[in-house]
C-alpha cells in the first residue's frame, strides 16, 4: 500500500474512531438532557396546574362569601377579579401542557384542562347571571351543587399531571441508570479508540521510518564505496520503489568505479611503459657519453694494469709499485662496473616499489652518468645539496628518470651558451624541494607551462614527452613540478616531494662519500 494511501487511511480511521467515541459520548448525554427537559416541562406544568387547582378552590370559597351577602356589585367585582386571575393561570397551564411532549397528547389531561378552563368561567357566568336576575337562592344552589364537580375535575387534572410527573421521574431515573451504564461503555470505547489510534500511528510511523533507516544504511554503505550493499525493501510503497532505484544506482556506480579503476590501471601502465620507453630512448641518446664514461676508468685501469706489469717485469720487480698500480686498476674497474649497474637499473622495467630514499643520493648517482654528456656540451655540473634533507617515499627509478630529464634538458639548453648546471636540494617545511638551474636559452615567451604539455618540444630530435612524463611522475608522488625563469638568464625547474614524517624528525645519518665531484666543477 502506498504511504500516502496508508496515511490517509490512518487519518480517516482515527477520525472515524473519534466520531464513534463522540457519538457514544453524546448518547448518554442526550438521554439525560432529553429526560431532564421532559421532567422540567412536566414539573412546570404540574406547578401551573396546582395553581389552577388553587384558583378553583379559591373560586368556590370567595363566591360563597360574595353570594352570602346578596350584593350583586360585590359579586360582579369578585367575579371579574377571579376570572382574570384564573384566565392567566389556566392559559399558562395550557401552554405548558401543550409544550410538554409527555402531556400534550394525554387525552385525559387535555380533556380535564379543557373542562376546567371552560367550566369555571361558565359557572362564574351562571352565578353572576342568576344573581343579576335577583335569584340569589339559585345562584347559591349552583355554588353548592354544581361547582363541586368542577373541583372534582380540577383534582382529576392535578392527579393526571402528578401521575405524569411520577412517570417522568421514574423515566428520568431509568435514563440516569442507563446513562451511567453507557458511561462505562464510553470509557471502554475511549480506551479502545485511544489504543487503536496509538497502534495506527505507531504502525504508520514504523512503515515510514523502518525503510528510511534501511535507505540511510544503504546511503552510508555507498558513501563508503561498498557497491555490493543492497537495500532489501519489499512492498509497493514509495520507499520500496526508492530502494529499488537506489540498488540500481548502486549497481551502476559500482560498474562505473570498476571501469574507472581499469582505465586508471591501463593509464598507469601506459605511462609506465611510456616512461620506460623514454628512459631507454634517453639512454640510447646518451650511449656515446655513457660509453665514454665507462671507457675512461677501464682505459685508466688498463694503463694501471700495464704499469703494474711493467713494475713486475723489471729485472728487479718493484712489487710495492705493482700493488699500488693493481689497486688503482681495481678501483677504476669498480667505477666502470658501478656506472654499468646504474645504467642497467635505468633500463629495467618499473616495479612500482616505493621506498624511503634520500634524494641527495639520487643526485649523486646521476651526476657521474651525465658528466660526459655535459662535457660534450661544455657544461659543468654542480651540486648544492642540503645534507639535512629528510627521506621521501618514492620509486627510485622514476625519480632518477625525472632528475635525468631535468638535467639533460638543462645541459641541452646550454648547448650554445655553455655554463653551469646547478642541482640543489632543500628541506622546506614538510617538503623536499629540488631545483635544477641552467643559464641556457630560457623558457618560451608565451607561457612556461606549455613546456609540460605532451609532444611539446623545442629540440629537433626530442620526443616532447620528457617534461610531461616528469610532471605526471611527481604528481603521482604527491608533489609539484614547475619552471621559472632566472633573473640572470636561463631557467630553473623545481619539484617538491612530501617528506616522510619520521625522517623529518630523525634524519638519516648522512652518507659521507667525499666524492671529488662534490661541489666540484668538471670542465
Amino acid at each position: 500500500m502506498k504511504i500516502a494511501t496508508r496515511l490517509t487511511a490512518s487519518l480517516i480511521a482515527i477520525v472515524l474512531l473519534m466520531v464513534v467515541v463522540d457519538i457514544v459520548a453524546v448518547w448518554p448525554y442526550s438521554l439525560i438532557v432529553s429526560s431532564n427537559e421532559r421532567m422540567t416541562a412536566v414539573d412546570q406544568a404540574a406547578l401551573a396546574v396546582l395553581r389552577v387547582n388553587v384558583d378553583v378552590y379559591d373560586f368556590s370559597s370567595r363566591l360563597a362569601a360574595a353570594t352570602g351577602g346578596s350584593d350583586a356589585q360585590r359579586l360582579a367585582g369578585e367575579a371579574a377579579a377571579l376570572r382574570a386571575h384564573f384566565q392567566t393561570d389556566v392559559e399558562r397551564a395550557e401552554r405548558l401542557i401543550v409544550s410538554s411532549t409527555t402531556l400534550a397528547h394525554d387525552a385525559t389531561i387535555r380533556g380535564a384542562l379543557d373542562t376546567v378552563k371552560a367550566g369555571l368561567p361558565f359557572q362564574l357566568d351562571r352565578i353572576v347571571a342568576l344573581a343579576a336576575a335577583g335569584d340569589w337562592p339559585a345562584a347559591r344552589l349552583r355554588l353548592v351543587y354544581d361547582v363541586p364537580s368542577l373541583v372534582d375535575i380540577s383534582s382529576v387534572l392535578v392527579q393526571g399531571v402528578e401521575g405524569a410527573v411520577a412517570r417522568e421521574r421514574a423515566e428520568a431515573y431509568a435514563s440516569a441508570q442507563r446513562a451511567r451504564r453507557l458511561f462505562v461503555v464510553l470509557l471502554i470505547a475511549t480506551l479502545v479508540a485511544l489504543l487503536m489510534a496509538i497502534g495506527l500511528a505507531w504502525s504508520t510511523a514504523r512503515a515510514i521510518t523502518r525503510p528510511l533507516a534501511v535507505l540511510d544504511a544503504g546511503a552510508h554503505a555507498l558513501a563508503r564505496g561498498d557497491f555490493q550493499h543492497r537495500i532489501a525493501l519489499s512492498g509497493t510503497h514509495e520507499l520500496a520503489d526508492l530502494g529499488s532505484a537506489f540498488n540500481y544506482a548502486a549497481d551502476r556506480i559500482g560498474e562505473l568505479f570498476a571501469e574507472r579503476d581499469r582505465a586508471e590501471e591501463q593509464l598507469r601502465q601506459s605511462r609506465a611503459d611510456l616512461a620506460r620507453v623514454a628512459r631507454v630512448t634517453t639512454m640510447g641518446e646518451l650511449a656515446a657519453s655513457l660509453a665514454h664514461e665507462i671507457r675512461q676508468p677501464i682505459t685508466a685501469a688498463m694503463t694501471d694494469v700495464e704499469t703494474c706489469l711493467r713494475w713486475l717485469n723489471r729485472d728487479e720487480p718493484d712489487t710495492g709499485e705493482a700493488k699500488a698500480a693493481a689497486a688503482r686498476a681495481t678501483k677504476g674497474m669498480t667505477r666502470a662496473s658501478e656506472i654499468i649497474s646504474r645504467i642497467r637499473s635505468m633500463l629495467k622495467k618499473d616495479d612500482h616499489k616505493r621506498e624511503p630514499l634520500d634524494v641527495n643520493d639520487l643526485v649523486d648517482e646521476m651526476v657521474p652518468l651525465l658528466r660526459s654528456e655535459a662535457r660534450r656540451y661544455g657544461v659543468s655540473i654542480q651540486t648544492d645539496l642540503d645534507r639535512g634533507l629528510p627521506n621521501v617515499s618514492a620509486d627510485r627509478v622514476q625519480l632518477q628518470q625525472v632528475l635525468m630529464n631535468l638535467m639533460l634538458n638543462g645541459i641541452e639548453a646550454m648547448n650554445e651558451t655553455r655554463g653551469d648546471l646547478v642541482v640543489a636540494s632543500l628541506a622546506k617545511g614538510h617538503e623536499v624541494l629540488i631545483s635544477v638551474s641552467d643559464s641556457g636559452v630560457g623558457l618560451p615567451r608565451d607561457g612556461a607551462d606549455q613546456i609540460f604539455q605532451a609532444f611539446f618540444t623545442t629540440k629537433p630530435q626530442g620526443t616532447g614527452m620528457g617534461l610531461s612524463i616528469s610532471r605526471s611522475i611527481i604528481q603521482s608522488h604527491g608533489g609539484r613540478l614547475w619552471a621559472g625563469a632566472n633573473a640572470s638568464g636561463g631557467a630553473t625547474f623545481f619539484f617538491t616531494l612530501p617528506a616522510n614524517e619520521e625522517s623529518t624528525e630523525h634524519p638519516l645519518p648522512r652518507h659521507e662519500d667525499a666524492d671529488e665531484n662534490d661541489k666540484g666543477t668538471l670542465a
Binding site: 487511511a9 385525559t108 380533556g111
Partner: protein, 431 residues
C-alpha cells in the same frame, strides 16, 4: 482497519444497549371515552363501576375524558380535541341531535353489533340513531323529559292527579304558588324550566310549540316555525316568566332548574328522568317527588329526546374494541343493573315489565307513556351540520320573546328570515 474498528465499537455499544431493550408483552388496548354523564358525581361513580366490569370481562382498558354539562360546550370541546391533534375519544356519549349532524364522523355500528342485539331496543330510539341506513349510535337508555311534581303539595291543595295539559298545569301551579306564598314562602314558584339562551331552551320551546301543533321548526323540507300555534305557545311561556316561574328562569340551565326544585322552591319542574337519582343532602324526600309525562297541548304531547346513546368515532384506531364497549354499555344486564341501582330508564322495552324495575322506579311508567306517542325530534336530521346554527337562532328568537325584548310574531318572522338565509330552504307559507 477502520471498518473493523467501527464495527467493534458499535458492537460494544449495541451489546450494552441490548441489555436495555426487552421485548414487552403486547400492551392491552386502551380506548378513550367521553360522556356528559361525567358532570354529576353519581353518574361518574356509576360509570366507573361499569368500566371496571368491562375491563374485567374483556381486558380492554377504558380511559375517561371529562366534558362539561352544557351540550353546546361539549360539542365545542369535542371539536376542539380533534382540532388540537389529539385523536379525540373513541367512544362518545351522544345527544339526540348528533346522529343527524355527525353521521359521517361515526362508524356504522351494524358492522359490529348483530341485528338481534339492535332489535331489542325501542324502535323509536333505533330510528333516531339511524341515518340513511347507518346505525350511528346505540341506545343505552331512554332519556325523555318529564313533568316532576310535588305529591305532598298536590295532595295538600286537593289534586289527585298531575296536570294532563298545559292549561291544567298553569291553573294548578298558580294556585299552589299563591297558597305557598300566602304561607310566607315568597321565593316559591309554580313551575321551573330551563329558559337560558342555550341549547336546553331549544328542547323546551320545541316541546311547547309542537304540543300546540306548531311543528318542529323545519318540517318536510320547509321552514315552518313562523306559525300562530308556535307564536302563541311562546307568548304563553313569556307570560309565565315572573308569574308562575321566577324572572331568573331565563338564566336557568337544567342544573339550576333541578337545584331550585330539589331545594323545595317550586311545585312543578320540566326535567330529565335522572333527577330521580338526585340525592344531595337537604333535598326533597323521595315520597314528595312525583313524575308524569309532559302535559299535552292542543295538538298532542311532545317530548324531545335527550342524550341516550353512544357512537364510535371513525377516527378510532380500535373500532372493534370501541364497539365492544358500546355493546357492553347498551347490554340488557347492564341496563337492568343501572335501572335497579341508579334509576336510569332502559332503552329495552321488556325491562319496563320487569317487576324489580317497576318496584324500584315508579316513574318509569311516565317514560313508557311518553314513548308511545309523545316523542318529537329536534330538527337535526333536516338541518344536518347546520343544526347548531339553526338551534342557536331559534333559541335566540324564543329567548328574546321570554325576556320581552321582542314580540312573538315579530321574533317568529325574523327567525324565518334568518333560517331561510341560513339553510336555503323555503318557508311553508311561500309554498
Amino acid at each position: 482497519m477502520s471498518r473493523s474498528t467501527c464495527s467493534f465499537l458499535l458492537l460494544i455499544v449495541l451489546t450494552a444497549e441490548g441489555c436495555e431493550t426487552r421485548s414487552a408483552p403486547a400492551a392491552p388496548v386502551t380506548i378513550t371515552f367521553t360522556d356528559s354523564a361525567w358532570w354529576d358525581t353519581a353518574s361518574r361513580r356509576r360509570r366507573s363501576d361499569e368500566i371496571r366490569q368491562f375491563t374485567e370481562e374483556t381486558g380492554i382498558e377504558v380511559e375517561q375524558i371529562m366534558s362539561t354539562g352544557d351540550p353546546a360546550m361539549q360539542l365545542a370541546l369535542w371539536r376542539g380535541l380533534l382540532e388540537k391533534g389529539t385523536r379525540g375519544a373513541d367512544v362518545y356519549g351522544f345527544d339526540a341531535t348528533w346522529p343527524g349532524m355527525f353521521a359521517d364522523e361515526f362508524i356504522d355500528l351494524k358492522q359490529y353489533v348483530p341485528a338481534s342485539e339492535v332489535a331489542i331496543h325501542f324502535a323509536l330510539l333505533i330510528a333516531n340513531s339511524t341515518v340513511r341506513g347507518k346505525l350511528v349510535s346505540m341506545p343505552r337508555a331512554t332519556i325523555v323529559p318529564l313533568l316532576w311534581y310535588r305529591t305532598d303539595l298536590l295532595r295538600h291543595y286537593g289534586y289527585r292527579a298531575p296536570p294532563g295539559t298545559w292549561e291544567e298545569l298553569e291553573r294548578m301551579a298558580a294556585r299552589i304558588q299563591a297558597g305557598e306564598r300566602a304561607n310566607g314562602r315568597q321565593d316559591f314558584w309554580g313551575f321551573v324550566w330551563a329558559g337560558v339562551g342555550s341549547e336546553p331552551l331549544a328542547s323546551v320551546a320545541l316541546e311547547w310549540q309542537a304540543s300546540e301543533g306548531g311543528g318542529t321548526i323545519l318540517d318536510n323540507g320547509t321552514i315552518t316555525v313562523n306559525n300562530a300555534s308556535a307564536v302563541s305557545s311562546w307568548q304563553r311561556a313569556a307570560r309565565w316568566v315572573g308569574s308562575l316561574s321566577p324572572p331568573s328562569v331565563v338564566e336557568y340551565f337544567e342544573p339550576d332548574v333541578s337545584n331550585v326544585w330539589h331545594a323545595g322552591h317550586a311545585a312543578f319542574m320540566r326535567s330529565w328522568p335522572l333527577e330521580f337519582a338526585f340525592d344531595a343532602p337537604g333535598s326533597l324526600p323521595k315520597e314528595y317527588v312525583g313524575v308524569a309525562p309532559l302535559p299535552k297541548g292542543a295538538a298532542r304531547r311532545a317530548a324531545t329526546l335527550g342524550r341516550y346513546s353512544f357512537g364510535v368515532s371513525r377516527r378510532s384506531p380500535h373500532p372493534r374494541e370501541a364497539a365492544m364497549f358500546v355493546r357492553f354499555l347498551c347490554r340488557r344486564d347492564v341496563q337492568l343493573k343501572r335501572a335497579l341501582e341508579f334509576h336510569v330508564p332502559p332503552s329495552i322495552p321488556d325491562l319496563y315489565d320487569e317487576p324489580r324495575v317497576v318496584a324500584a322506579n315508579p316513574h318509569f311508567a311516565a317514560i313508557r307513556e311518553t314513548l308511545i306517542d309523545g316523542v318529537v325530534a329536534r330538527p337535526s336530521a333536516a338541518a344536518g351540520k347546520a343544526y347548531p346554527d339553526v338551534s342557536r337562532a331559534y333559541v335566540a328568537a324564543v329567548h328574546a320573546v321570554l325576556t320581552g325584548e321582542k314580540r312573538a310574531p315579530e321574533a317568529a318572522a325574523d327567525l324565518e328570515d334568518v333560517l331561510r338565509r341560513m339553510t336555503g330552504l323555503e318557508s311553508s307559507r311561500q309554498k
